[in-house]
């Protein structure tokens, strides 16, 4: 990473509470010191359950430091909205990527890795790897 900027993380959920709580959890587990920029984009613009393209675009813009933005999403329409906006081409900052990862575990891995100064590829790899953490 040449410019010293951190990768931004956006957490997209159907629920505003889920998105903000997972963001809080991930930042908390990333430990002391400066963490990577993290923004939740949960629920619809009027506070209901669903996905808001506006909230998502605003969150991505807010965490973009020029090193790329990793987006994690929870279910159906959240994933589809991210994909549709990425296909649009100009809605999200350059270097924005949907990361295929479990929402909570992937968010923690992504924020910890990004906070350590890793680049977007490494952040994505860490989040994806969270799929392999077994619980039995």
């Amino acid at each position: 990473m040449s410019d010293g900027q951190r990768v931004g993380i956006v957490l997209v959920s159907h629920s505003a509470a889920v998105a903000s709580s997972v963001a809080e959890l991930a930042v908390g587990l990333a430990g002391g010191g400066a963490t990577a920029p993290v923004a939740p984009a949960g629920g619809t613009a009027d506070g209901g359950l669903g996905t808001s393209a506006e909230l998502l675009a605003a969150a991505a813009a807010a965490v973009d430091r020029g090193a790329g933005v990793a987006v994690l999403a929870d279910l159906g329409s959240a994933v589809l909205t991210v994909k549709a906006l990425l296909a649009e081409g100009d809605e999200l900052p350059p270097g924005t990527r949907l990361v295929d990862a479990p929402f909570v575990e992937g968010a923690v891995a992504a924020v910890v890795t990004a906070s350590a100064g890793a680049d977007l590829d490494a952040v994505e790899a860490a989040a994806r790897e969270a799929y392999t953490y077994r619980k039995e």
């Binding site: 209901g48 359950l49 669903g50 808001s52 393209a53 159906g76 329409s77 994909k83 549709a84």
Partner: protein, 200 residues
Amino acid sequence: MLDADFFRRWMTAAAAAVDREAERLTALDSPIGDADHGSNLQRGFAAVVAALEKEAPATPGAVLQLAGRQLISTVGGASGPLYGTLLRRTGKTLGTDAAEVGEERLREALRAGVAAVATLGGAAPGDKTMLDALVPAVDALGESFAAAADAAERGAEATTPLRARKGRASYLGERSVGHRDPGATSAALLVAALAEAADV
């Protein structure tokens, strides 16, 4: 030839149909979904009509791209990015330069739009989704707009015995059998609105 007015009429007719059928769409979405399909699409198509009035795009491709953009932004459920992608990819395929397009060109563009929906959702015909109405509709469009509307309606009806393999209803497995798919039903409304726009 089909001009920007034709495509505005299509979107206005779709908004009216979604308004008229909102309760039915939400009722279909209650047993196998989250009971918001009707209200989500009402909000989305109302935003489409408002944006078309405000920005008055001049070409068929521009009308559909603006409409698709509005649906992605405002619907809130999975149908937003899916219908938004359908209209936007169709509009992009038409391009924004041509003031009029022929029916054959529209059919090709819609085929590209439907293919983009299938890619985005990872679904295929038979998965109990909007594709079960859209794919036969595009196939029948070579015959006439009315034939496309009939094919979409038959396709939507035929989703009832299917087991859902995509979307929220797929979590229900066998319990999704016996329920008509709300997405295929709204897709049939969209195609019926296209036939309505042509029938002026």
